[in-house]
Amino acid sequence: MATTPDEAGGREDELSWGDVLDQSDRLEVRPRPRGRLVLQLPSLEALVWALFSAGGFVTAILVPVHVAVLGIAFAAGWLPRSALAYERIVHLVHNPLTKLYLLALVALPLFHWAHRFRFAIHHQFGIGWKRLAATACYGTAVIGTALAVVVLLRI
């Protein structure tokens, strides 16, 4: 399988299989910086995937009951009168733990959608501008999260 660079008419710096195997202990895809302490920054992709994953679990486990209670049960009149009374709900939401929960409930599904939609734009709709699409998608999620923070602080 190995073709030496001159045989194949390729570039001089191309490596044959033999070269790769011989030099495998020295070859790096990205060179490691020299020195004793190395600052390791977390990968951005890893971070958005973590958010996407968390969003997937929130959507799968928590969202159904919220839609069922607010969108179906209450709307159809199956709930007791006091269930969604203004005072009771405000009192519930005043609790900081509730606010944290609600922040996660609003923000994480948005990041889940953003991640899937960003790939759908490129893979399914065939639109090329990947960085723009990613910024637009995650940017929307960030805006939604910020709005949630503002609204929750006002309650």
Partner: protein, 252 residues
């Protein structure tokens, strides 16, 4: 009574005759124990010697005979005609690869992807020969055994819509192979391989369609390998965020 026959529509590509691929139809004798490869061999022996295709072991272990059979990536040596009889069978070259001739595709991109993930044991501290082998009990072999069964048949690349769109994508088999070595307790190259696969054209481009694992003839489950690689990469990232200064010892 005439012996039963079956029709095969086989894709041809002969650029010296016609610039684009086209189909030829052949009628082959049908027996219950015949596979698509048998039909192709019959065509080549008796009907049309100009047909070009790859095959070798004819028993599903070499990975040479991957083709699209009725629009699905299959090993022709393991696909029985009786699955389709009496309807006709469409045989085309493996999808998502450039076609060299008839059913033969250019696999050089795949071969390159395989070698970029450094599919060998990487050690930061080599044992000397006197210290003996790197021992590995059966429980540790079980951790990666499944992912070592790949026969490089490329059916997963044919099934992967991400690879269809992005030829840069490292792809299921190569990423599963990288994961196999990361799981191997004798290997110490996880960090090195992470730099190679945890990139935009590596594991992060996969959207877990899952078709690669569906078509894999050896149940390697590359989709699972890639998602677990994502978990591993994310965990590593989160850990490095909690401990931002990694201490590296430079050995000269």
């Amino acid at each position: 009574m005439a012996d039963p026959t079956m029709t095969l529509k086989v894709a041809r590509y002969r650029p010296e005759h016609r610039p684009k691929p086209y189909f030829d139809e052949y009628e082959v004798p049908y027996r219950e124990d015949m596979v698509v490869l048998d039909a192709l061999n019959y065509i080549k022996d008796e009907l049309d010697g100009s047909l070009a295709y790859r095959w070798s072991c004819r028993m599903g272990v070499c990975g040479s005979c991957g083709m699209m059979v009725n629009y699905k990536p299959r090993l022709t040596c393991s696909t029985f005609l009786r699955e389709f009889y009496p309807k006709h069978v469409v045989v085309e070259p493996l999808e998502n690869f450039p076609i060299i001739r008839d059913l033969v595709i250019d696999m050089s991109d795949f071969m390159e992807k395989l070698r970029t993930v450094k599919p060998w044991i990487i050690r930061t501290d080599e044992h000397s020969v006197d210290e003996g082998e790197y021992l590995q009990p059966p429980e540790q072999v079980d951790r990666y055994k499944q992912f070592s069964m790949c026969i490089n048949c490329m059916l997963c690349y044919a099934a992967c819509p991400v690879y269809a769109k992005d030829q840069e994508f490292i792809g299921p088999a190569a990423l599963a192979l990288a994961y196999r070595y990361n799981l191997d307790t004798r290997d110490q190259g996880q960090d090195e391989r992470q730099q190679i696969v945890a990139v935009d054209w590596g594991i992060w481009d996969c959207t877990f369609v899952g078709e690669c694992s569906v078509v894999c003839p050896k149940d390697v489950d590359p989709a699972a390998a890639i998602q677990r690689s994502k978990v591993a990469a994310t965990t590593k990232s989160m850990m490095s965020m909690l401990l931002p200064f990694g201490v590296e010892r430079e050995e000269d």
